[in-house]
Symmetry: C2
Amino acid sequence: MITGKNFIGTVTSAGNNKTYSTFNPKLNKPTEWIFHEASQEEVNAAVEKAAIAFETYRNFPDRKKAEFLKAIASEIEALGNELIAVYVQESGLPEGRAIGERGRTMGQLRAFATLLEEGSWVEATLDTAKPDREPLPKVDIRKMLLPIGPIAVFGASNFPLAFSTAGGDTASALAAGCPVIVKSHPMHAGTGELVASAIALAAKKTGMPDGVFSNLNSSDSQVGQLLTMHPKVKGVGFTGSTKGGMALYQLAAERKEPIPVFAEMGSINPVVVLPSALEQKGSEWAAQYAGSIVLGAGQFCTNPGLIIGIKGEAMDGFITKLGKEIEKLEPSCMLHPNIYEGYEKGKKELSSQAKTMEVASFKGEVAPNFAGQKILTVAAKDFLDNPVLHKEVFGPFSIVVQCRDKGELLTVIQHLEGQLTGTILGTETEIKMSQDVINALVNRVGRIIFNGVPTGVEVCPSMMHGGPFPSTSDSRFTSVGTSAIRRWVRPVAFQNWPEELLPDALKTNNPLKIMRLVNGEHTKQSL
Amino acid sequence: MITGKNFIGTVTSAGNNKTYSTFNPKLNKPTEWIFHEASQEEVNAAVEKAAIAFETYRNFPDRKKAEFLKAIASEIEALGNELIAVYVQESGLPEGRAIGERGRTMGQLRAFATLLEEGSWVEATLDTAKPDREPLPKVDIRKMLLPIGPIAVFGASNFPLAFSTAGGDTASALAAGCPVIVKSHPMHAGTGELVASAIALAAKKTGMPDGVFSNLNSSDSQVGQLLTMHPKVKGVGFTGSTKGGMALYQLAAERKEPIPVFAEMGSINPVVVLPSALEQKGSEWAAQYAGSIVLGAGQFCTNPGLIIGIKGEAMDGFITKLGKEIEKLEPSCMLHPNIYEGYEKGKKELSSQAKTMEVASFKGEVAPNFAGQKILTVAAKDFLDNPVLHKEVFGPFSIVVQCRDKGELLTVIQHLEGQLTGTILGTETEIKMSQDVINALVNRVGRIIFNGVPTGVEVCPSMMHGGPFPSTSDSRFTSVGTSAIRRWVRPVAFQNWPEELLPDALKTNNPLKIMRLVNGEHTKQSL
């Protein structure tokens, strides 16, 4: 049952008279649920509880934190159909997507549990003493990763489960040993509350300190600002717009004690179509990309918003086919009228730029909040001259850039901003002859894909979901996959530390049997 | 021979009429050398060259970069006595220290070369395809660390070699595959020029692209600001004052494309003296700490500036002994009149605070720029009430804080800012009973030491030289030891990438024989 209350640790609270509702975009009307905006007192109470909880939680052994994560996954599952029904109402996304995303969310939590159970993630590094070393004896030093403190998590609009209340940011921070305070996304506050109730229950069942998790309702920017400025918050995870992410980044940088903000802010995900790709299977690629562009109403950070190829007959054929395929597809409902309006505005702005040409657009009637897809094309020269065309339009929209030759194609890539992904389509033979293009693209992206589509972000150790600015605020970290835990930890070295008091990960006999770097050698052996 | 010119890559240049000299603090007069401040054109030229060099350098195999680093070490050695003589004149430090620091500098370069030759540092992570997976096939993804781009390095005043032109920041960035532009420290511009000439020679001999390294003279803040704001600079390494570090940090955060600034800004390095330490060997600790406080005229970021103990007879005895020992030691020359003046000013400010008491100070005559050591003591309550007493005084100065009991000692620790190091002196038995004190201290420091002194920073994989703010701007990274390379890299994932085009570190048969994480398992095996 949705109460509309905040979770301050495991205690629900509604201290504020300011309320708001979520919205059902398919019905084009508000849902029945009323949420109490978190007050400043509630924000402070959540952070204070988190800071106290941190003193206990940070010392819990990994297996205990793993139990908590697994319990969260089970409690989310136990929410059953109510969660799916609320998700669907609040997002306009279909039930199959809701079920898939729930699976992904539970999978992420369990993947972090497995990481903790294995234990090597702490990067234990030991250098033992050499008392006889000349001119100075060497002391024993042992280093491992430890959590940084309470983390504020800002969920994404487009993944009400997997990038939200119990999403990758929350799962990775809790795995690291950091309490989490979620600023609930206002578009799916009901979904968020249900998930928060599952986390609170899991925390109780597995004996976690109260305050290890809180969920704060918020319909404007105040709660997020208070969280980011609170001296006891030590890091921020954010997925959303460039404007929102950069506002938090600046706020955090201006604190008396600056803190890291990991903002994933979107990307146009360039796709380079080499001539050989068109010769061999141009029309297959056209069909596949039409699907990728329209998937989930284009509401993915990895949506392919830019396709770059070389002018000519083959490219003409590809564009025609892409247009035909895209016109065939049925529009889907967007997450919220605000998202829909943003999409229509962006689409209009880019379409009205001089020297752009429409390739295709959905021509039929669309229901309210449903996104009619559109493809433009433009010559490379005009694309290079117009920064407006480099902007992300969040939705089923893409621009095809036509270059005179490979030199101009390289120039286009060299003028792109940082991106989450870059893709190259072609034969192996041709890609081998395109080392300059690959080099330029690798230098601008977090993930580079050969003969595929950028949508679909696997949750695994090798995933990199994060790229050079402005796609994210810190290209050195990923927000998807188990490496996401790195954002919430810092190394601490123990020098000449008594064996008995060392954390298990650093003990001489390696009781956790983890992989360690001992005197420069990787080993699972005891010393 | 010192020319006073800038190195724009391997080309020397003196385009600016603005000049300055270095200073011999022992003779208390300027040296004979005149340096040409880098002009804005020279700054831009160095960065442009670095950006072009990056396109080649970032693709060099690790063993080639290792040759470069080893060649730098050899060329520094080949500078012979001239380097030592210039170092001594420009720093006031003794010859033995110069020779020792040269050894440390060459050792660091060679340690990074070894890291590259071994190769596992790139954290190769492979997850292979599962085409049959349900409901969706899994694609092949392989991730490794790649360099971020040209780096600006700001050398430290207090280590003219090991934390300067070819110091840890430069060595780690070059090892990562990032070109380096050094803003030369004005106090040892001659030492810097000699080292720069060694690097330029090494770059030529090992076939590095011109621009992989530049050295810019600078006597005020303009060159540093230009470097930090240049769009083609992708990161900053800095060791120095809080004011300088934070100015760069803010500048970098306000750029159109924010970049990371790793600023190591100092620390008062608290030392907790448990009662058992005093009972067992109080007078030995007093003698050892007197030496650590005065070492190198106290000009170490890990200088113990704060000693915290519990009031009583044993503590009285320790303080008396510490005073006697400190008075016996001969003052040393500081690096520069500015440093000396800063020291005297800080010493005076803290000594004049109400309720502080002098324990001891050097009473004899001191030569110009020689630092007379001083120890104060203060009750914990008064220390807690007065933020001025928490400030770092860069030099041979320390405050002994006397607490009523262990509870108050814990309170003092809980009110400390972030620190590079924290130390606990005591018996193992007593430290075991002080888990709250350890917890509080670990949460505030990058390195925690048992029964030792914080001065002396070992260069090894397990070293952590970096701590919570304000000791550094980013507690997640170290500036000493081989892990310092992590600051200059970001992960890039290759999805479905053709085998032949994969970087060697990610190839199926593991030609580099490095440790990799393959489908969740650490292994050196080929797939």
